[in-house]
């Protein structure tokens, strides 16, 4: 059965490249970006988790399209694997949820997600030659771990100052993996702060990685209820 796979919600007046079968279904203020998919293509897709499997292909395509939409304007990413039976159903759900979607679009407009990942350096304790040196080194290492956790918490606080919101687990002694929703106007300052933090963390043997600007994947959580249309 031919169904409609939805990638994201955008402003109704946005101009997106309608290539590769990408189409917009519009309500008054918002639009859903979607393309046709044969529903059989999704059946049992979670059974194949290999790099070249159907799930991998779908996930990458989903991410590509959402990024394309983010290049054109504000976008609310839709959860992977959301399929409507036809465009009429999609249009009905869209107009039903329109006002909350429009509010969410305004909230993330002019903002992007940035991912900061820091990995702590490798432990060197086991290479110490004598028993005393080994124990001393272990004690030092425990202190360094506490120090690193505090340093990362402080980095998180600094970066959070440029962001509307932050997401991800609290920084730990092993590293951090945090996402920030940063207004585009502050992206330069945010980037400089990350670079400064990375230099400081490098002296502690850490590796820092920054990814962005990304669509606001981790900062959009909207439920569109379909049941009320029945």
């Amino acid at each position: 059965m031919i169904t409609q796979y939805v990638y994201g919600i955008v402003d109704a007046d946005v101009r997106v490249p309608e290539t590769d079968g990408l189409r917009l279904t519009r309500s008054r203020r918002v639009a859903a970006a979607h393309s046709e998919i044969e529903s059989a293509q999704l059946e049992g897709i979670e059974q194949d988790l290999s790099e070249s499997g159907r799930l991998a292909v779908l996930a990458r395509q989903h991410d590509d399209v959402v990024r394309t939409l983010a290049d054109a304007g504000a976008v609310l990413p839709v959860r992977l694997g959301t399929v409507f039976s036809d465009e009429a159903t999609l249009a009905a759900v869209l107009s039903e949820a329109e006002s909350s979607l429009a509010v969410e679009l305004d909230r993330i407009r002019g903002r992007h997600e940035w991912e900061v990942r820091v990995r702590a350096g490798r432990s060197t304790t086991a290479s110490e030659s004598s028993g005393t040196a080994y124990l001393l080194a272990r004690r030092q290492e425990a202190r360094a771990r506490d120090g690193l956790r505090d340093a990362l918490a402080s980095v998180d606080q600094t970066l959070g100052g440029f962001a509307d919101a932050a997401a991800g687990p609290e920084p730990a002694a092993t590293g951090m993996s945090r996402s920030y929703l940063v207004p585009d106007a502050l992206a330069g300052q945010f980037g400089a702060a990350v670079a400064a933090a990375a230099s400081e963390l490098e002296t502690r043997g850490c590796v820092a990685r920054l990814s962005g600007p990304l669509p606001p994947y981790r900062f959009v959580a909207v439920r569109m209820e379909v049941g009320s249309l029945a």
Binding site: R79, D86, V194, S199, L210, G212, P213, Y217, E225, V226
Partner: protein, 105 residues
Amino acid sequence: MNQTNGSLAVHNSGALARPAPATLADVLERVLDKGVVVVGDIGVTLLDIELLTLRLRLVIASADTAEQLGIDWWKGDSFFSANTRELEQQNRELAARVAQLEKRS
């Protein structure tokens, strides 16, 4: 897009690791996390994301089994694989240390 230029400048500066191309692990982590969720069963099909996430976690947790099945996409991601390498290295070092101590006694 303006921000892209900004991000390149950021990426080129000093201590930051070069941005690795997004691995499947990265992509899945992003697209599975949140987003607009359509609830209801009229005219809508959804992947069972909870089940999928659990299966993915299980795969990463049981690396050996996964490798036998030819599933190894997280190995390219240092944030998933560094731990394994680190543990292997630690094991080797500890084994060497034990051997050294045994010789001495």
